[in-house]
Symmetry: C2
Amino acid sequence: MKKDFTRRDFIKAGSLAGLGLAFAPAMGFSNPFQTKKVRIALIGVGLRGQNHLQNLLQRNDVEVPAMCDTDQGMLDMAVEMTTKAGFAKPALYTGSDFAYKDLLARQDIDGVIISTPWLWHPIMAVDTMKAGKYAGVEVSAANTIEDCWDMVNASEQTGMPCMILENVCYRRDVMAILNMVKQGMFGELVHCQCGYEHDLREVLFNNGTQPYGGGVEFGAKGYSEARWRTEHYLKRNGDVYPTHGIGPIANYLDINHGNRFVSLTSTSTKAVGLNDYIVKNGGPDHPNAKLKWKMGDVVTTTISTANGESIIVIHDTSLPRPYSLGFRVQGTKGLWMNDGNQIYIEGTSPAHQWEPSKPYIQKYDHPLWKRYQDQAEGTGHGGMDFFVLNAFVESVKRKIQPPLDVYDAAAWSVITPLSEQSIASGGEPQDFPDFTRGRWINRQPSFGMSDEF
Amino acid sequence: MKKDFTRRDFIKAGSLAGLGLAFAPAMGFSNPFQTKKVRIALIGVGLRGQNHLQNLLQRNDVEVPAMCDTDQGMLDMAVEMTTKAGFAKPALYTGSDFAYKDLLARQDIDGVIISTPWLWHPIMAVDTMKAGKYAGVEVSAANTIEDCWDMVNASEQTGMPCMILENVCYRRDVMAILNMVKQGMFGELVHCQCGYEHDLREVLFNNGTQPYGGGVEFGAKGYSEARWRTEHYLKRNGDVYPTHGIGPIANYLDINHGNRFVSLTSTSTKAVGLNDYIVKNGGPDHPNAKLKWKMGDVVTTTISTANGESIIVIHDTSLPRPYSLGFRVQGTKGLWMNDGNQIYIEGTSPAHQWEPSKPYIQKYDHPLWKRYQDQAEGTGHGGMDFFVLNAFVESVKRKIQPPLDVYDAAAWSVITPLSEQSIASGGEPQDFPDFTRGRWINRQPSFGMSDEF
């Protein structure tokens, strides 16, 4: 208990003085971990885990002592990547769903990146923190309200941080807009929009041997994400994937840092897209053509915040469409719209006319991107993956709270069960738990505050 | 009563056989009214009423026997327009809020166009129908749930139609998309979006002598719309102007014609835009800078339909921004987005990529626009005003139900009080009344079905 208490106090100090620590190196702060490599293990080395691994292997400040997966094929691929990169062959954990517990029992691990199917995220994150290690958990972090509390409680009780690895927070345009928001260019923020509008039909169905398309199988007959993600569409109706959209918006609106989500309502459409796809691609006699999908093709959620803003969040993944996260950021001085890449700033833009957003995005490029653009290039998802991993590794290295923490993981992920409840009750508003237990009132912003990480 | 009954039966027959009558001329149907001019009076000849008047005066099939307004200046302008166009000087009704009743008592009027402040719309529409005349009522048509029922009941009891003069239904791109919807190019529709996103700050405030801007006055010290519209922002919180957005979407989704609105939830932001504008333009010491505005700057409403679609409707009029009605029409084969003018049709568009919508809008130009484009050009609001007035006049002339009727007026306008109730109750879902009393199940679509009107 003494050890946990000490560690917790340290982390809490880091949290309270987050800004000071973030800028610490510039102020001559000496970190004993900076000369020692940090040891990052991976639970889940499927295609997403392999992305993270690839980026870890490009760093000279990390070791990868261990990894875990139940899929031997994925594990083989990950080991080959690791040794090819000149890293020592990691210890492997496999053979059962709970093999990861043996990995967590090791003493030579500082942080763990969790890239497993959604239902495992909160369980593994909690176990990671209880094992005294930093948890880096893929999105969405949790599935139920209790999951979210479990993660928050585990972090508070163990003193170990849990970072939600929401890469879109680091998208270059998203960070440039954050820069503009912080400079007050949109005035007082009033309304935001976002969503996950991504035609996933070829992710949800494949032929069992390739990750994307080629068939209408899923579950045991599918491959990669189709193995586990698709079943959520069969059994649940809600926004099951809110964080790519809400993460950036939460940063703009200082959620958990002077503001918080208060309530939401959700509305679902009928579910016709997946059946349409199966019939078109597998024929009307395919057994999957008889399935009744529960998840509406478009789920619309509207969130109210303590500071009086509203946010529309859309989940739209089973209809044909180009990819969009549908961002809109609107205040008393203007607005940015991701769709159409349009911006309007009163007094700067021609009256009542859109301008292309690109010159603004370039002009207000975030200091973090300016500093690391060369390293970020060539990494996954347009560089976002470099930054999110870098933030995790740097936080582990410096033993500070990461810029996205367990309260963010909880507040963003809880949209899923709340949206399910709202839809199930015909649109009744649902209150957000206050995972910070009131501390949102005076917590200071921690994301994107410098060019450090 | 006998007279009313006969007229009502005739209209009902027109309604039941709406399609037949719409195509009647092509089938050799002889209409006794076609050789006689129809007599259209105007209640309200402010700036909007003068738009309609201007378009009436360009027609050779109408007379304008009478007009009414409480504002002598507006009345003078309207009379001058009328006589300059070579029409006889109309009888004028003014001097009291109820002078319009004397106009309605005349026997030489077939239809009345009502372009007055919102609160007068339902009262005047009901009185018009009770006087045995076609009512053409400007948007929004009603303010309360009871207003909507009053209009429906008046129409059913008198047999007189009430057309909601929603011009955006006739916007060229909106009708081209209707054409594409009816041809199934978007597949089965699933989700739509729309709104009234229009920076009205210079409409809501002026200097009392010009209609747009130049000061921060409203009410008794304002001019034109600022005289009456602005007070709604002070006293109400809801979507007070839903029809420009919802009208076109209702036509796409066959609302009241095989489908209906079932329920909605509404969410409001804080109200900061108007105060910000007053302080900037009138100074912090202007008396209006002390007002507490009730209407949130952005009101988001999500509607569910009987056929399982959802519709997002936004009211956003007190912040700086370019104009947009924010249309999105999405189905199992693709989607159109007004913002960015983008379209995606599966199998036609390059995979996962937007195309510009313009070539589609041109290719699927609605037959009505093809036929009347020369006449429509130069009329108000890009030609829309020509079409909406034409539909009203042609319906009066042929003694048939107009393509947008009292059920449309009620179902679209009732969004306002329902959104107010939802916001006031913290987002509770509100059920739509079924103004068709169940007849939506088998009523046939009536809007944009031909190149007639």
